[in-house]
């Protein structure tokens, strides 16, 4: 039993992941060996090239995944590799592509310097105490932490490994690879550094706390099943009675994942971190982390615990309801744009969980019926691009001391810059789920699968809280267009990079709203999770 067999590794199928890891390591080397003046250009070029190469590899891998018979009408395509610990299947490749596209837009936002008079969004020297002489000297020298780019690549690699993990230990390692760079990036803001550092500490302590729960859940599940591989856990769940060990294991694993998703009651960090982090980081991480964490949650619950759906579905019912309610209601009371968007992201996490709840076994699905996986994948595309563009727009409203995020000072922005306010209003409407935006199709998709699986009370509550959420979105739009300007905030013109990222986000939101067919088909083509 204890002999060691070399696992087979499908290097070709893992290429996107390997490219990102490789790029991140080369990026660390660049920090050591390239002169300060050239470093920023080299890092940006390297990071973008890595992401583009990984995206190309990802499309190539997606095209050559073998189809696996799955029973019933649902099909899966892909393969298990590295001793069955990584699953390269349709949903994995779909999420990889999505994370890579979001991160490409993220690099463009990270590189922005024009909005703050040539200064980057990141601290000149993170080790210098705020307000000290060392900090002023670093600013005078024009120092810049170009380490943010390799850190971002490491986080991207973690985000890609997370939904691909088919083993609890690999999932834990991916969780940490994804989280640790994010903790650091959160604390690197150039302005309001005390806020930023405080956000980093809160994020770190709570994140480490949550991963402790995840790990203990993994240990208990291992104790129950005798293996950490999802297929064997599923086998054990099917063949034996559920017991306390299993229930506790599922619960603790879900604590870790729901923390990353930002679901109630593990949502407390979200507003603090979204507000304190540099806005470029917030934009990218709000989209990327949610994609990775929801992907991992889907795989864990559907593949490993699919046979024990009776045990996690009631829990998820309560959490989805509470998440939608808390996100929508608390957002109304916010006076800060970034915090408001953070609470709206909590509400969206609730809507996504409603989609996760729509789990049905392959045999129960009618041919051509939308499955829970497909609905959630579509929602992630729609939400990811909308939230990225929305936060990117927040970064453009500034005064002499940096970004202006107080809602009251956003009054009348629409008169000064109709373009920015128009785009922001459109994205808010998409988040509210108005027809002809991607948000509407996404909500329709997750609510219809939840309804089909018999969770109609969730659907009713979801629609109700969508209306509550629409209230505060519309309030911001009224504020921007129909209030007298305060004159204390100005909209700055960004460089082409930020413009490109925002345009991409808005374009995706429009196209998915008007013409959702191709992406829904792509999600359907991705098929189900490989077991």
């Amino acid at each position: 039993m204890n002999e060691f067999t070399i696992p087979e590794i499908a290097y070709l199928e893992l290429l996107p992941l390997l490219i990102v890891f490789g790029g991140a390591i080369v990026g660390v080397g660049v920090e050591a060996f390239v002169g300060r003046s050239a470093r920023r250009t080299v890092e940006i070029a390297l990071t973008s090239a890595t992401l583009v190469a990984a995206l190309v590899a990802c499309i190539w891998v997606g095209g050559r995944l073998p189809v696996v018979e799955h029973g019933g009408t649902a099909t899966a395509r892909g393969l298990l590799t590295a001793g069955d610990t990584l699953a390269i299947d349709g949903p994995t490749v779909f999420l990889w592509g999505l994370v890579l596209l979001i991160s490409l837009a993220g690099v463009l936002l990270f590189a922005e310097r024009k909005v703050s008079a040539g200064l980057p969004a990141f601290a000149g020297q993170a080790a210098a105490t705020p307000g000290s002489r060392a900090e002023r000297e670093a600013d005078a020298l024009g120092l810049e932490h170009t380490e943010v780019y390799p850190l971002m690549l490491f986080a991207v690699a973690g985000m890609m490994m997370f939904p691909a993990a088919n083993d609890l230990l690999v999932m834990f390692v991916a969780l940490e690879v994804l989280s640790l760079p994010l903790y650091l990036l959160t604390g690197l803001a150039r302005r309001r550094r005390m806020l930023s550092q405080e956000a980093a500490m809160k994020y770190f302590l709570l994140g480490a706390f949550a991963s402790g729960f995840f790990l203990y859940g993994a240990a208990l599940t291992y104790g129950y099943a005798g293996s950490m591989k999802f297929a064997q856990i599923n086998e054990a769940v099917r063949n034996s009675e559920g017991n306390g060990l299993l229930l506790l294991g599922i619960g603790l694993l879900c604590v870790g994942l729901l923390f990353k998703v930002g679901a109630v009651p593990f949502h407390q960090w979200t507003p603090d971190v979204y507000q304190g982090a540099p806005t470029a980081v917030t934009a990218w991480m709000a989209a990327g982390t949610k994609v990775a964490a929801i992907g991992a949650l889907l795989r864990l619950l559907h593949v490993a615990f699919g046979s024990a759906a009776w045990s996690w579905q009631p829990m998820l019912w309560v959490i989805a309801l509470a998440t939608m309610a808390a996100g929508a209601v608390l957002a109304i009371a916010q006076t800060d744009v970034k915090r408001m968007l953070a609470y709206s992201s909590i509400a969206h996490a609730g809507f996504m969980l409603a989609g996760v709840l729509g789990f049905q076994s392959a045999a129960d699905l009618a041919p051509g019926q939308l499955s829970a996986t497909q609905a959630v994948l579509f929602y992630l595309v729609a939400y990811g691009f909308a939230v990225l563009a929305a936060f990117a727009l927040v970064g453009l409203v500034r005064d002499a001391s940096g970004e202006v995020t107080e809602l009251a000072r956003w009054a009348g922005i629409g008169k000064e810059s109709p373009l920015l306010a128009g785009a922001f209003a459109f994205l808010l409407l998409a988040m509210a789920g108005i027809p002809l935006t991607s948000g509407f199709i996404g909500k329709w998709a997750v609510f219809s699968v939840a309804g089909a699986a018999g969770a109609w009370p969730i659907v009713v509550a979801g629609v109700l809280f969508s209306v509550v959420a629409a209230f505060f979105y519309v309030r911001v739009i009224m504020l921007m267009f129909f209030t007298e300007p305060t004159g204390t905030a100005a909209v700055v013109r960004p460089s082409w990079a930020t413009t490109a990222a925002i345009s991409a986000g808005v374009a995706v939101t429009v196209v998915l709203g008007v013409l959702p067919g191709p992406v829904l088909e792509l999600a359907a083509h991705a098929g189900e999770f490989l077991r």
């Binding site: 039993m1 650091l184 993994a218 104790g223 293996s227 507003p271």
Partner: protein, 97 residues
């Protein structure tokens, strides 16, 4: 075997309660480490029970990850301490509601 799992559960609980009630960021962090070590104990105990190596391997991975976490965590706590001359998690309250 059960004794080890119970001991790990007790250690885990002490760690979790410590995170919730202690005020110093460093102590909070040490409590998190205690939780991770409780996990290790559970992994190793279950590995012995099932007679396979998965759990023992997991313990090594957890140690490596915990070491990486210490590097990041101490860096963050230290920058906070230098800026505020305090590592109390109650003092850091600029972000609320």
């Amino acid at each position: 075997m059960t004794e080890y799992v119970i001991l790990s559960a007790i250690l885990f609980t002490i760690g979790a309660v410590g995170v919730l009630v202690r005020r110093n960021a460093l102590v909070v962090f040490m409590c998190v480490e205690l939780m991770l070590n409780a996990c290790n104990l559970a992994f190793v105990a279950f590995a012995r029970q099932h007679g396979n190596l998965d759990g023992q391997v997991a313990a090594f991975f957890v140690m490596v990850v915990a070491a990486a976490e210490v590097v990041v965590g101490l860096a963050i706590i230290m920058t906070i301490f230098r800026a505020r001359r305090s590592a109390s998690v109650d003092d850091a309250s600029l972000l609320r509601y």
